[in-house]
Subunit: 456 residues, 2 copies
């Protein structure tokens, strides 16, 4: 009977990672630097100093292979880390897979905010704290990032102001309440608290906001206050590096299970949970390893599968440095899918670089198919997934079924980046049969791409 049921691989605390893995040390070719939008020249640490504490800026450009995780950060990680890895025997049984096809998942939903986001929120709050920063400003879409940073700031005694996209602020009051429970101030963006917000509300009092507008507000907030720094939950190198604790643990747990993955899968919006899982597997891949690595994005925001690889702004308003990345254009407005965390016009430069070098595959998935997979997963494994990783589950199931048909042996690993307890409205919509698929017509994507500075 034991062999029929899902198996959990638990690491004890001695296996907590003591260093983040910095893939920049091992890249076959270096990344293209961010450029100053005015001069077109590479930006230096000094250009970022108004926004970030120097420790994080140095991590952003570091070429050291391992960066020690400060003891104070490890002590917080320890509250929920190491996270479990599961062999998905329940799901395998539902799919009637032969024993040669195995599915594993790493589960990040055991953190207090329910996702992988605290892996970077905690060190970001810590490095701000030791730099003497007393207040942070950030933006959030669906609220996973804002709530995780709120918790981290509570631990380190830092004030936090979150600009939350107005439509999500209205639709996801639970996420706002979580931020406030952890002591953060959360306002709907566009707000009356910044010039950027007021200008937009003047022009359109009914604006429902966007991630781009919220970034503009948080950056302006930071730039106009001495006590405040800015914080970002994905995209940047140091953010992805903080997430590598996921993959480091997964490697140890797969060893416990005596398994080696043939396919490694993660959903990708900005790219942080995907990178967190896959980066520690990359040295083996660079050395000729055969494991396929698949980034799964929503069909409604197909950055890798339909975007271009070029320099573009990180935000809609065009206030950030230019980042070389896969992008649909910084003015692209992804359809209103439930996986709010995957609605980003670009992709982390590091993930884009690895994709461009041919080390990664990309697939896009429609949300109805993703939720169909999630329902099967929940009924087989118990955990109800957040809308974002439903995309990874869909591809994991598809890969398993392909192997079942073809007769090949295949070990599949995916990242279950969070649970869906605060996103049950999405399941409700699916179960009532009213969930819609979205795909942007080619012309809409073409049009958005004409606004990319390097193509304008």
């Amino acid at each position: 009977m034991a062999d029929d049921r899902t198996t959990k691989y638990v690491l004890n605390e001695e296996n907590l990672s003591e260093a983040w893995y910095n893939i920049q040390a091992d890249l076959p070719t270096p990344m293209a630097p961010p450029l100053h939008p005015g001069t077109g020249q590479p930006i230096g640490p000094g250009d970022l100093a108004p926004l970030f504490p120097m420790d994080l800026i140095l991590q952003e450009v570091s070429q050291e292979r391992y960066i020690e995780i400060p003891q104070a950060v490890q002590d917080v990680y320890r509250l929920w880390r190491p996270t479990p890895l599961y062999r998905a025997r329940g799901l395998e049984k539902s799919l009637e897979l032969p024993d040669r096809v195995k599915i594993f998942y790493k589960y990040e939903g055991v953190s207090p905010s329910g996702s992988h986001k605290p892996n970077t929120a905690v060190p970001q709050a810590y490095y701000n704290k030791i730099a003497g920063v007393t207040r942070i400003a950030t933006e959030t879409g669906a609220g996973q990032w804002g709530s995780s940073l709120a918790m981290a700031c509570a631990f380190f005694g830092i004030d936090l102001k979150v600009y939350m996209v107005k439509i999500s602020y209205a639709q996801k009051p639970y996420r706002r309440a979580m931020m406030e429970t952890w002591g953060a101030e959360c306002v709907a963006s566009p707000s009356m608290d910044t010039n950027a917000g007021r200008a937009i509300l003047d022009a359109d009092p009914d604006s429902t906001g966007s991630l781009g507008i919220a970034i503009s507000e948080a950056v302006e907030d930071t730039a106009t206050r001495e006590d405040t720094k800015y914080s970002l939950g994905s995209v940047l190198n140091h953010v992805l590096m903080h997430q590598t604790v996921i993959g480091q643990e997964a490697i140890k747990q797969l060893e416990m299970a005596g398994a080696e993955p043939d396919v490694i899968i993660g959903c990708a919006g900005g790219g942080s949970n995907f990178a967190g899982l896959i980066l520690p597997f990359m040295p083996a891949k660079f050395a000729g390893g055969k494991a396929r690595i698949i980034a799964v994005e929503p069909a409604a925001c197909p950055t890798l599968t339909r975007g271009v690889y070029t320099y573009d702004f990180g935000d809609t308003a065009g206030m950030t440095p230019l980042l070389k990345m896969h992008t649909l254009g910084h003015t692209f407005m992804p359809a209103g899918i439930h996986a709010g965390g995957l609605r980003y016009h670009g992709m982390a430069p590091l993930v884009s670089h690895l994709f461009d070098l041919g080390y990664l595959e990309a697939q896009s998935v429609k949300q109805v198919a993703a939720f169909e997979a999630a329902i099967m997963f929940a009924r087989s494994e118990g955990i109800i997934p957040a809308p974002e990783p439903t995309h990874a589950i869909r591809v994991a199931i598809d890969e398993a079924l392909l192997a079942k048909e073809s007769g090949e042996a295949k070990t599949i690993l995916f990242n279950l980046s969070g649970h869906g307890s605060v996103d049950m409205a999405a399941y409700d919509t699916y179960l009532s049969g009213s969930l819609q698929d979205y795909e942007h017509p080619a012309e809409a994507i073409e049009e958005a791409m004409t606004h990319i500075p390097s193509r304008a």
Copy 2:
């Protein structure tokens, strides 16, 4: 630094309990039996056979000290068990406690439904399955029980119909969506699906329902179908026994920590999470152990602190056997506090018996004070508690502060029975300053008690 931060005590899977602890073997005096309401005579196993599978009926009356946990149940427990025990260093720091005052908490929110309820939902589904039952009917108030049983039924391939109190059905759509995600059918009670429901809707089409009405519907559903059994999430002996895995693990984890509790605290509604923690500590208490054991109930439903100890019905409609328990009267309607899981007019007969014998203390807490404690807890420890265990946290903090003042050494243990991700509306109400306290006037309680059969 490590000593400043909360410490997590993790058991490996070899420490998963292999048997439930049945305190009936060790009671100094036996419990009073349930009585048939018609004859006034003790009921026998045969009387319960239409409602429950025989394995559970035998557990209800067993005098064996340990009852083996079936392998198939252990295999599901393993998905999230053993659960962690924490030394609450963050909270201790916020309270500025001296080192002689220590707070520990056992955390049951790591289960997929977010509470301790699956500890009994899984074995109940299992014993129904091996008895050939293909369908279960149950009721749920706030939805913790209904969703946990939905998950358990999904694992064992059993159909589930949940009658959910209509006001909660409307106010907590996320809980309903969880049940449906796990494959259960959930209807608002009173429903048009039973005679009991139709009669109530005929008389009052706007009825918002009650737990008593929902029980009536689930019991009628069971009684009128060959394929269906009934399932209850608290109160009964076998339900409490299934929860003893909590306390068994806690004892091992406290040994790891080198700690011995002076005070053990749990919130108590029907009594199952409280009993799950404290029952394994009772043999030491019977042997003269000095640990104080405190049941915490809401001031709005003060069963132990203001009720009487006598025979009463388990449900509002008076359809169940008579149970000897602390009760406010089966027609008592507790005020609409957010801790829906604590709104029960009675108390588990086993907990009532231990209280009557003088082994337990009871305290009542108002919800504003409970949420105040929960906010401090969340900002210190990360986890946002469900509304029910906020009551336990309040008393844990009060006990710690008393010891801080008095100079005594004190080790406190409480049960954090679930997380609050699906209950953030309650926090929102508290944070906006509009949360109300409720206390029932003495006359209202006296009036409800006149309906208790043994006092009528």
